[in-house]
């Protein structure tokens, strides 16, 4: 708003960017969960540009004990990972995930949106109801759009909480994603002789759509 051509002037003058930076700082400090730019803008004075303020704020906290991190389309302040040893007191004991749950989570993250059948095909074994339930309960996965194939199966995608938990800016930042894709290991390659090519095209569309931001 402050960058708007001078001919048009907002009725309400936006606060100086340094002041906006303070506001974004206060908002992020006050919240345990990531806050979107839109949510910040809604709480800040009319004409504020939290996205710009964030650029400054992020720089200000570089190398500090806490950091400004991006989580999906939201922002949060988190302690620097190298200081984790100081926080034994704060460590939250999380239920240990089964191997099946961890693999299922990884498959959903790397192949999203993924149907249960696709997860089972990759793992070569049935996915138990409890595994999916556990991941849903942790809010690391959620239902995506139904697949437009016979039976209209539900799909699963990873959530902002997932990104937040693993310190990822977006699903595109998953470790090794590019290499896996280049190696064709994220293709939904059907068993020869079981033509499922229609499926395939849509899959790819869905996936790139999700990963594009």
């Amino acid at each position: 708003m402050t960058d708007a051509p001078d001919t048009e002037k907002s009725l309400f003058e936006a606060p100086p960017i340094a002041e906006q930076e303070r506001m974004v700082e206060a908002i992020l400090f006050a919240s345990a969960d990531p806050v979107t730019v839109a949510e910040m803008a809604a709480r800040m004075p009319h004409g504020s540009d939290p996205a710009e303020a964030l650029v400054y704020l992020r720089r200000r906290y570089e190398g500090r004990g806490v950091r400004v991190v991006k989580v999906g389309d939201a922002w949060a302040i988190r302690t620097a990972p190298d200081l984790g040893f100081l926080m034994q007191k704060e460590v939250v004991e999380t239920r240990k995930l089964s191997r099946a749950a961890i693999e299922t989570l990884a498959i959903i993250a790397y192949h999203q949106p993924a149907t249960r059948a696709e997860i089972e095909e990759i793992r070569g074994v049935a996915v138990s109801r409890g595994t999916i339930d556990q991941l849903l309960e942790l809010e690391w996965i959620r239902f995506g759009r139904r697949r437009m194939t016979p039976g209209r199966p539900v799909t699963f995608v990873v959530t902002q909480s997932f990104l937040d938990h693993f310190g990822l800016e977006s699903a595109r930042d998953l470790p090794g994603l590019k290499e896996l894709r280049a190696a064709g290991l994220l293709d939904n390659r059907p068993m020869p002789g079981m033509g499922k090519d229609d499926d395939d095209g849509e899959d790819q569309g869905g996936q790139s759509e999700l990963f594009e931001d």
Binding site: F29, A30, S31, A32, D33, A76, I77, R78, T79, A80, P81, G84, M87, E90, V91, V92, T94, R99, A100, I102, E103, L105, A106, I107, A109, Y110, E121, I122, R123, G124, V125, A126, D164, H165, F166, G167, L168, L174, P175, G176, L180, A183, L185, R189, M191, P192, G193
Partner: protein, 262 residues
């Protein structure tokens, strides 16, 4: 799992049995046949892309045979995989039959290798994911988040479709309650009878039938017609019952009624 007593009936030597047991000791530890295949493939110590699927199929079939000998009940999907690998093995060993339909043994083998490689890749990715810094373990959120005080504001919404449907609903409601509609503009003979029974007691002299029309029914032509017809029919009924007399001086002249003298 096998009952220990089964082993005693087994004719195998002790060392054979131990070897067999070593293989199946952890059958529960495998997450399905693909996982087992992946584990077996490690003995080949090659890149999964260059793995010998034929050799792998052999290993798997040997495993299943041993399990059978030990009378270990394998889950159905292990047996399905065994049957499929036996089929694949035959395809790989026999020269390709051009008349045969479907994918070649090589294509099937390549797909199996792809599945193994993909599973392996997902395993490694899962491990890398879990090795990342995690919230609540390596980095932490604000320990003292401040509650945001919420003030609620309700925003009402309606679409043009809602509006039109509402209007349509009202209008059809009017038109398709025909009985209610009729009652508005139709005076029934029952109503006329009720009304006249109450009034004829006062009709000692000849009175124009039109004066018996109920209030508010003479202005609107449709209502007047209906009320007139009903009142006339009711007067005929009352005359028939011997309560009143009727007279009309000429055609289309006003009809007059009076109470029949007792």
């Amino acid at each position: 799992m096998a009952d220990p007593s089964l082993f005693e009936e087994d004719p195998q030597s002790v060392s054979d049995r131990l070897q067999a047991e070593a293989l199946i000791v952890d059958v529960d530890g495998f997450e399905g046949p693909l996982d087992l295949l992946l584990t077996l493939s490690r003995t080949q110590k090659v890149d999964l892309r260059r793995i010998s699927v034929l050799q792998l199929a052999e290993q798997y079939l040997v495993f299943v045979e041993k399990a059978k000998k030990l009378r270990i009940e394998l889950a159905a999907d292990y047996l399905v995989m065994a049957a499929w690998l036996a089929f694949l093995k035959s395809r790989l060993l026999l020269p390709p039959d051009p008349s045969e339909e479907g994918p070649s043994g090589e294509e099937l083998a390549a797909h199996l290798a792809f599945q193994l490689e993909r599973l392996q890749a997902m395993r490694e990715s899962a491990a890398r994911l879990m090795a990342r810094d995690q919230k609540g373990r390596d980095f932490f959120v604000r320990g003292l988040p401040e509650d945001i005080q919420r003030s609620r504001k309700v925003h009402y919404t309606a679409t043009l479709l809602d509006l039109m449907q509402a209007y349509a609903r009202i209008r059809t409601h009017d038109q398709f309650r025909p009985y209610a509609f009729d009652r508005d503009h139709v005076f029934t003979m029952e109503q006329a009878l009720d009304r006249m029974r109450g009034l004829i007691g006062f009709a000692g002299d000849w009175t124009d039938l039109a004066s018996y029309l109920p209030d508010g029914w003479s202005a609107d032509p449709a209502r007047r017609r209906s009320a007139t017809a009903a009142t006339f029919a009711a007067s005929l009924e009352l005359a028939k019952q011997g309560h009143i007399e009727l007279r009309q001086s000429e055609t289309f002249a006003p009809i007059a009624i009076r109470r029949k003298p007792q």
